[in-house]
Amino acid sequence: MAKKKRKVPGLNASSTADISFILLIFFLITTSMDSDSGLARRLPQPPENEEVKQELKIKERNLMEVRLNAAGFLWVKDGIANGYVDISELRERAKTFIKNEQNLSNLPEKHTININLLGPCTLTDKHVISVQTDRGTPYEMYFMVQNELVAAYNELRDEKAKEKFGRLYEGLTDEQKVAIRTYYPQKISEAEPKNYGGN
């Protein structure tokens, strides 16, 4: 038998491009590009009867009150002053309050505790920042206040991390992060909303 060299006919691939185009368009339509990010917060446990009493026990010097009224105005009360402030001042106010560098008697009291890796530290572990909103407060204002407060904590943690470990908080090991978190515990409390400051 004569060996014939059989030629495999080339597959016509000219429509593959069209097929993949259709697939591509399908994915473009059904998916969304936005990577979801947001401000992560932790809600307190559901209220129990004892909680009401506990909240009254916070000493005045340990408490920073942040109130948002229905018109979106911000009112802050801590040991230094009380009154309306602009959102841009909130971060510094919160930082001064949390740090209490000069150990003033009208800012949060300080305790010395032993922190792993950091040794004995004097810190304001009893402070509380209480955010109160009105039912009519715009969500954006509330969000910005939360954002500024979290930013205050993050900046303080970064400062501390730089000072102790020579790196920003993000770059620390888990153990170091825990130490810094113990030094600056995030204490933002959200009271049940009240109705004040207009409708």
């Binding site: 994915f27 998916t31 990577s35 947001g38 992560a40 969000f143 910005m144 930013a151």
Partner: protein, 141 residues
């Protein structure tokens, strides 16, 4: 004029396709509410996408306005719901998750929403022990 060689065109398109498949996520629900999330600086990425449930808050889309009006609504899955229904929603979502303690509720609310709606939702979330929330936002410089 010589013919253009298009034999590598499919490969090219496939590459683009794979790129899109990787960077995007499937859209889970059809949005019935309009919202522009607020802008913040201290944002964290939502990790573990399968442990996230979304609650949308905002005024109805333009084409639904005739039917539902323009006041703020809460959307759970594919329908409008009341704040009290959030609890059932949370439990349902939790059932379908592997790691139930990791459940995160992402609140996607319009920036003009009144806090009353958000507070109601938050109260229900607390009662249903869904304590990890994430206020969805866009990055601001």
């Amino acid at each position: 004029m010589p013919e253009l060689n298009t034999s590598s065109l499919p490969d090219l398109i496939f590459t683009v396709l794979f790129f899109f498949m990787m960077v995007t996520t499937m859209r889970e629900v059809t949005l019935k509410v309009k919202f522009t999330t607020p802008a913040g600086t201290e944002l964290e990425k939502l990790e573990k996408k399968n442990a996230v449930s979304f609650i949308y808050v905002g005024p109805p889309q333009d084409n639904l306005r005739a039917q539902f009006g323009s006041s703020t609504r809460i959307q759970l899955n594919d329908r409008f719901a009341d704040a009290s229904e959030v609890m059932d929603f949370v439990y349902q979502e939790r059932q379908s998750m592997q790691d139930q303690t990791a459940q995160v509720i992402s609140i996607k609310a319009d920036r003009k929403t009144q806090m009353g709606y958000i507070t109601d939702i938050k109260e229900v979330l607390r009662k249903s022990y869904a304590l990890k929330v994430n206020y969805s936002a866009t990055k601001r410089k």
